[in-house]
């Protein structure tokens, strides 16, 4: 046979089974006959036409079959509306929640930033670095094509042209001018920052984000070149970032990008000669690997360089210390995850999404199995008249996909709604806008693929099972073929138990998280929370010189004291109860006699005079900071000289260092300084429910000259929070009406905001747990209902022979109860094992897990709840079985 003939035959054999049965031989014959004739008459052109004709019709025939299948599937679903409705609802919940997890977590971890060229080349280090080190990294041209320095979540007071009101507080990034070229980004308008143009000494040029441009300038093209006041200094807007870009290496969106070449008067973060001081490490690294360089080779090379640089630093860890000095991770996603944690985190979310979807699929599969049994006669007829088994399976799978697509559409709508709710949830004080987590076309594709996979997933096994039929007995007996018996329902029982197990697993795991979050959310105060308020103030970013700012804070306490509305107050870097801290802090007991002195890591919090008095916390030993401490001058240049700084420990930290709740007068070393312990205070739970070892450092004149990025917090109490607020406001206004007070909040509002953020997490996890519960109940009810319907005849006979109603009830319930019991045991063991594994491998969840795991309410309550609900779900159809009239049931067959 010629090659053309062989191609033709192959194509003809690839046509759908039904088509081949009817026309295959004839088409082959006609083709081979024409081929000879065509070759004689038209030569190669004719043969090509012939082949093209058959090649074009091949996909058309499949499409037409698919259309037919779809039509048939739609009719079949319309005929059993309750099955369709329950199915669509289950799938909508399953797909909707999975899509929600995808948009809220997965996409945040995996999706690369918009507008970035070759994102896989972007890397960052897990720890920040000093600028002199960054300059050395920059010299490694064969390793890195660019290294930018970034300081995150820097707040600026911004006054727009013509703005008469007080300036807005805007989040931004302080970046080296090569930031955008390392990202490989093109401007949307104007120009981005560049190392050539943005040099020291010129009027500072800044770039604004697309979002800020739209929200504050109405996307006006004339924005470029406009002059704004930034922390009281002049700056010019030179460009707008591409759409949707709001900063690399940050979760909180940056609205303004300011080069580090601006003077320290504009950005106090640049004080202390931070660009030349190798002891200060405020900069995140944003690096682009040279082509062909792997992240591992770059890491080991940079680690070696860092180690060499550390040799000249007496305070760096000893050279014998083998620990890596620099660890790289990918930088192109919204959230950066250490490389070793990444698979675990993605694994958790994959697991969560898989189990949600699996439960929905199992639910549908049990229903489809039951339905398949009911359709045996129909299927047997179709097999009998020559339909291929493959065709029938395809038909049933098509039905599944159609159902799943309908469910998927509803699920996508659900995910959209959930995303809209999340987007409107406000975050606690100081946190800026939520990053954009709305659904988009990628989410839609995800939901669509998920729906197709689900449709195939839940219908393929039932289809295989239902078409595995002996035609003759099925035709003769129809539905009555399978009257009872656990064995016949093997696959279905397995699916049902797996569903109960999966639901319990989901309920418990989400329950652990929910309980953990709830427990962590109970902040206890020794005073009435309605009497406290916070305000933030930042004179330096309002244009004050460091000296003027210091003078302001020197006078402030007396003025606040004289206000009748304020009963007590204190200054601090952070408001109390905020989860988080000023950073890790390693302290060593300064004991010349010890061979290996005790060294511990604690959290650092910087607080002012009278901080614990405002909180009504007792002082367990020694004293707390007073205004003398607040007047200390402690510029880093003076480190290691002068008297030790006072330090207050909480109980946990004191125990860690000294084994007891004392240690007054002891010296600790750390952070290039010596500290003397002057007091011990009780442990306080923070808003995330944890009590950690904390070292409290005094707020000093250095902090006033160069306030931290979030400003200085004034914590004030009065007869009511509103009184206190009014008092502080009028005091500050009387000192300088131009000073901005921002993030003004009462403690109640603040706690409410924290709770709102928690509630959003609760809603997600609680919703997922509840979803599993509802689905397994629906599934059980459906399956038991089918079992009852199928056993009508048997039940009828039993009742006719004198079986009591309760015996019938027991008969039906027993089967359901066995399934529930097996599922419950498996699910329980699985979830405890999983929770243990989870808290062992990821720190992200371990806090919540460790608080939630082991709560007897959950460990006993959840299985009982599920089992109870499941039995109820069985009871309803079972009680219907009791109402069967034996005569009617027997006549029906």
């Amino acid at each position: 046979m010629t090659i053309a003939g062989r191609i033709y035959r192959r194509l003809a054999e690839a046509f759908p089974h039904e088509f081949r049965m009817a026309y295959g031989d004839q088409m082959l014959e006609a083709g081979e006959d024409s081929m000879r004739r065509l070759a004689n008459k038209h030569g190669a052109a004719g043969i090509v036409r012939l082949i093209v004709d058959i090649a074009l019709h091949l996909p058309l025939e499949y499409l037409s079959e698919m259309r037919q299948d779809m039509r048939y599937a739609a009719r079949a679903l319309a005929k059993s509306p309750s099955y369709a409705l329950v199915g669509i609802l289950s799938l909508a919940l399953g797909i909707g929640l999975t899509t929600n997890v995808y948009t809220q977590a997965w996409a945040l971890l995996t999706r690369t930033l918009t507008g970035v060229a070759n994102p896989h080349q972007l890397v960052t280090a897990e720890t920040p670095a000093s600028y002199p080190y960054i300059e050395r990294y920059r010299e490694q041209k064969d390793l890195l094509t660019g290294v930018a320095a970034v300081q995150n979540s820097v707040e600026f007071n911004v006054a727009l042209p013509g703005q008469t009101a007080k300036p807005d507080r805007v989040y931004g990034q302080l970046v080296s001018p090569d930031y955008f070229s390392v990202l490989g980004m093109e401007p949307q308008r104007g120009r981005l920052l560049s190392a050539e143009l943005d040099k020291t000494g010129i009027t500072p040029a800044v770039v604004i984000s697309d979002r800020y441009w739209r929200s504050h300038f109405n996307a006006d093209p004339d924005t470029i070149g406009q002059s704004i006041r930034l922390n009281g200094q002049n700056a010019t807007i030179v460009g707008v970032t591409p759409t949707k870009f709001d900063g690399a290496l940050t979760v909180t969106p940056a609205e303004i990008f300011v080069p580090i070449t601006v003077p320290a008067t504009l950005a106090p973060e640049l004080g202390d000669d931070v660009l030349h001081n190798r002891n200060l490490k405020p900069f995140q690294l944003l690096m682009r690997l040279a082509p062909g360089v792997t992240i591992d080779s770059a890491e080991s090379a940079l680690d070696g360089i860092t180690r060499r640089l550390d040799k000249d630093d007496p305070l760096a860890p000893p050279q014998a210390d083998k620990a890596k000095r620099l660890v790289l991770m990918g930088a192109a996603t919204r959230v950066q995850i250490p490389r070793d944690l990444r698979p675990k985190l993605l694994g958790f979310y994959t697991f969560l999404m898989t189990i949600i979807i699996a439960i929905a699929c199992l639910n549908l599969a049990t229903m489809a199995l039951a339905r398949g049994i009911g359709r045996r006669k129909e299927l047997a007829i179709r097999l009998g008249v020559g339909a291929s088994r493959f065709r029938l399976i395809r038909q049933m799978v098509t039905e599944g996909i159609l159902l799943s697509l309908l469910g998927g559409a509803a699920g996508f709508a659900l995910a959209w709604a959930l995303a809209a709710i999340t987007a409107h949830t406000r975050l606690p004080a100081g946190s800026p806008l939520n990053p954009d987590r709305s659904v988009d076309w990628q989410t839609a594709i995800f939901a669509f693929m998920l729906a197709v996979a689900c449709g195939i997933g839940f219908s393929i096994l039932p289809a295989l099972q239902a078409t595995k039929t002996d035609v003759a007995p099925a035709l003769k007996q129809g539905m009555a073929l399978q009257l009872s018996g656990h064995k016949r329902f093997g696959l279905r029982n397995l699916a049902m138990s797996a569903q109960v197990a999966g639901s319990l697993l989901l309920l418990l795991v989400t329950g652990f998280l929910v309980l953990g979050i709830l427990k962590s959310n109970s902040i206890q105060t020794n005073f009435n929370p309605k009497t406290m308020a916070f305000l933030f103030i930042d004179p330096v970013r309002d244009g004050y010189s460091p000296e003027k700012s210091q003078a302001f804070f020197d006078r402030l306490p007396d003025r606040l004291r004289s206000s009748p509305a304020i009963t007590s107050f204190a200054l601090a870097v952070q408001p109390p109860f905020l989860p988080g801290d000023d950073g890790d802090f390693h302290l060593t007991v300064d004991d010349p006699h010890a061979s290996s002195p005790v060294q511990k890591g604690v959290l650092k919090q910087t607080v002012g005079a009278g901080f614990f008095a405002v909180l009504n916390e007792p002082i367990l030993a020694g004293r707390e900071f007073d205004e003398r401490d607040q007047r200390l001058d402690t510029t880093p240049a003076q480190a290691n000289i002068g008297p030790p700084l006072p330090l207050v420990l909480n109980q946990k930290a004191a125990r860690a260092f000294f084994g007891s709740v004392n240690g007054i007068g002891e010296h600790l070393r750390g952070d290039r300084r010596t500290y003397e312990v002057v007091g011990v205070v009780p442990d306080m739970k923070d808003a995330s429910g944890m009590t950690q070892g904390i070292a409290y450092l005094p707020l000093t004149r250095h902090d006033f000259a160069q306030p931290p990025s979030g400003g200085i917090t004034i914590v004030a109490r009065g007869h009511s929070a509103e009184d206190a607020l009014g008092g502080v406001r009028s005091v500050v206004a009387s000192m300088d009406p131009n000073l901005t007070l921002f993030n003004v909040q009462t403690l109640s509002e603040y706690l409410e905001l924290i709770r709102a953020a928690m509630r959003s997490a609760l809603r997600t996890f609680g919703g997922i747990g509840l979803f599993g519960l509802v689905l397994s109940a629906v599934g059980l009810a459906g399956v038991t209902g089918y079992a009852v319907a199928q056993r009508r005849k048997e039940i009828g006979i039993r009742m006719a022979l004198g079986a009591h109603k309760t015996q019938v009830l027991g008969l039906v319930l027993r089967e359901g109860a066995t399934l529930v019991a097996v599922g419950t045991v498996v699910g329980f063991l699985g979830s405890v094992a999983l929770a243990k594994a989870m808290s062992a491998i990821t720190t992200e969840f371990s806090d919540a897990f460790s608080l939630g795991v082991g709560d007897p309410r959950l460990l006993i309550g959840a299985p009982l709840l599920l089992a109870g609900l499941a039995l109820l779900a069985c009871y309803i159809p079972a009680s219907r079985a009791m109402a069967i009239d034996p005569l009617k049931a027997l006549r029906q067959e």
Partner: protein
Amino acid sequence: MTKVDLQSFLPLKTQWFHIMLSLAGGEQHGYGIMQDVLERTTGKVHLWPATLYGSIKRLIEADLIGESNDRPAPELDDARRRYYRLTSLGKRVLDAECERLQELVRTIQVKRTMVTE
């Protein structure tokens, strides 16, 4: 069957029309139809095999043609071949299509005489 039903098939697709026209003369098998059309149109219309059988399948689904049980004498028959015939609906649709085409031709002729005058 109402008139509306017939109209919904019109105008007939070219391949459908040629296949149905070939069957108007009597039962025919697929390959026969192909050759018949080729001869009738002096090679201008070539029904390629896949097009032909795809159209036959759809014509059967639309109930315009059906499979015939009458087979030729055994010595002329090939067991693989299936024979097709017009259904009564098919006949009426073909009539309606022919009438439509005649109407069209008449209109064209009238127009042409108007132009030449």
